[in-house]
């Protein structure tokens, strides 16, 4: 993650600060949205942990409970996704099983010149991030 910053480059819209001497605003592009099945849960760091846990639990329980749910986490949310999956397993007293898959997701950052008069064209920077996909399911028989 870019950590270096200078004050004169802070603009209200930029989420991360750029470090280039040519003034750039760095904006992260959201990862590509994937079509979501009903039993897909995407974990982020903004929503409360307990709320996410309760939502996953609800998807598994109840009369219309799904046989399996899939928990996804990207970057920093990987830890939280693993925690949720392990918690669900602990609450089920061993009835649930976990299957974890990992993958790499490409993220694109847009760099825009802050001052329109300044020389500079919009650039894109690509980076990679790790993702985890955990299937939580009741094993048959």
């Amino acid at each position: 993650m870019l950590a270096h910053c200078t004050d004169d480059r802070k603009t209200p819209e930029c989420s991360t600060k750029s470090m280039d001497p040519v003034e750039y605003t760095l904006r992260k592009r959201l990862p590509r949205k994937l079509p979501k099945r009903r039993n897909d849960v995407y974990i982020n760091m903004k929503t409360d942990f307990k709320a996410q846990l309760a939502r996953c639990q609800k998807l598994l329980d109840g009369g219309a409970g799904h046989k399996e749910i899939c928990i996804h986490g990207l970057g920093l949310a990987i830890n939280r996704a693993i925690n949720i999956a392990l918690q669900l397993q602990a609450f089920s007293q061993g009835a649930l099983q976990l299957a974890a898959n990992t993958s790499t997701v490409e993220l694109v950052d847009d760099l825009e010149p802050e001052d329109p008069d300044e020389a500079g064209e919009p650039l894109t920077r690509t980076r990679n991030n790790s993702a985890i996909h955990i299937k939580v399911f009741y094993p048959n028989a």
């Binding site: 693993i82 299957a99 790499t104 650039l123 996909h133």
Partner: protein, 226 residues
């Protein structure tokens, strides 16, 4: 199996890694890691020692001679990958040895993301690796010592999530939960019709015009951000 073990609670506040205990008690706001550390330091305590408890290897039927890479929070990926790649790629005359055909990356707590990243890098560099991923809780003992006086000492016991990733050149059991074949097009993604994962051997186009001298963290193709 009680996973909510804690010998001493740190001044009545729950440590951030302890989502386990906090989730069941009366609603208390979970302190962020930085808050907990600041309060700890303000109370004059400093973490002195952190030891991980040994848990049995989660992989059934794995030969005891394989390479185990323990990824810690402060590990440098460059160093880890250098060592692991050298071991996996030195094939000359050792192709029969089991030790070079399998490698395990294990990490816990804050090192989990780094562990996954290491495994992904290795999968990309050495194609055709079968993967098996296992998640468990790991016990950790921390010793906090008081800065002033130096008499009081606390031992905190925590359980943190940990991950173990087995990468193998030989095919693994596909029925085992957590199995992942080397091909990137598995059934999970086929339904969505998207290929977010890079094919092994595929290079990203070099689009960036920023010169290397100006940005400290410039990552040309092949760079990975955590």
């Amino acid at each position: 199996m009680d996973l909510r073990d804690e010998c001493v609670t740190f001044k009545g506040e729950k440590a951030p890694a302890d989502h386990i205990s906090s989730a069941l008690l009366a609603p208390k706001p979970l302190p962020s890691p930085s808050t907990a550390l600041k309060q700890g330091l303000a109370a004059g305590f400093k973490k002195v020692l952190r030891t991980e408890e040994d848990s049995p290897s989660p992989f059934p039927g794995v030969l005891p001679g394989i390479l185990e890479m323990r990824v810690k929070e402060g590990s440098k990926i460059r160093n880890l990958m250098g060592f692991a790649m050298a071991r996996m790629q030195s094939e000359s005359g050792d192709s029969g040895r089991a030790g070079l055909r399998q490698v395990v990356f294990a990490g816990s707590g804050r090192a989990v993301t780094k562990t996954i990243t290491c495994a992904e890098i290795m999968k990309r560099k050495v194609g055709g690796l079968y993967q098996l991923t296992k998640l468990q809780y790991k016990g950790v003992q921390e010793v906090w010592e008081s800065q002033e006086g130096g008499e009081s000492e606390m031992t905190v016991h925590r359980t943190v999530p940990s991950i173990s990733i087995l990468l193998s050149k030989d095919p693994l059991d596909p029925l085992e939960p957590g199995y992942q074949p080397p091909e990137t097009q598995y059934a999970l993604w086929e339904e969505r019709g998207g290929a977010d994962v890079l094919q092994p051997g595929e290079k990203r186009p070099f689009k960036n015009n920023i010169s290397e001298t100006h940005s400290k963290r410039f990552c040309p193709q092949g760079g990975v951000t955590l």
